[in-house]
């Protein structure tokens, strides 16, 4: 049972366009939602994250929009650059107080940005 779902599986945009990556989840206990970026041959690296008390988080060209009622979130990458070509993982974890950091990952979206 996949608790975090991502769409599309792959996405191709032109340089300068906005890429929109979608994510949905099932577990109402999920509270923390990071997006990780992974380049081939490397491990994932944290890109941006949001907590369920917020509906938007912005960091430069990257913005997360969060809809708690619908259990959906999306990552918007504005002015996409070829260097943004990577796999993007949506992840989620519950607030445990003990901060165990146990993340549930989606399958990822492969983004290709053509120059």
């Amino acid at each position: 049972q996949q608790q975090v779902r991502q769409s599309p599986q792959s996405l191709t945009v032109w340089e300068g366009e906005t890429a929109i990556l979608n994510c949905s989840y099932e577990n109402s206990a999920f509270d923390y939602f990071p997006w990780y970026q992974q380049f081939p041959g490397e491990g994932p690296a944290l890109l941006i994250a949001i907590r369920s008390v917020s509906d938007k988080k912005e960091d430069g060209r990257f913005t997360i929009f969060f809809n708690k009622r619908e259990k959906k979130l999306s990552l918007h990458i504005t002015d996409s650059q070829p260097g943004d070509s990577a796999t993007y993982f949506c992840a989620a974890s519950p607030y445990t107080g003990a901060n165990t950091g146990k993340l549930t990952f989606g399958h990822g979206t492969i983004l290709r940005v053509h120059p």
Binding site: T87, A91, N99, K102, L103
Partner: protein, 112 residues
Amino acid sequence: ETAVFQTPNYHVTQVGNEVSFNCKQTLGHDTMYWYKQDSKKLLKIMFSYNNKQLIVNETVPRRFSPQSSDKAHLNLRIKSVEPEDSAVYLCASRTDKNERLFFGHGTKLSVL
């Protein structure tokens, strides 16, 4: 800048062999993890460990075992590899004060 180091980068072995992967973090973090990334790129947690507690994902086969000498090192041993163990194994760490995970580059295992 890499601060979670994994060796080897690649390992090819045959069914039934024992393998061991190493991981070291230089960030002074409290907790370390092993994740498995399958051929479809899905990441699944296998173990989390700090100097107080080992937490095992209940779906992990018993032939997998973590080994730690101190909080900067967490190795992974697979006693008798199976074809389905072919994957990339990613080590990660984090401080207890922050949820951000720092991953290594991974060890790619191929079981023939």
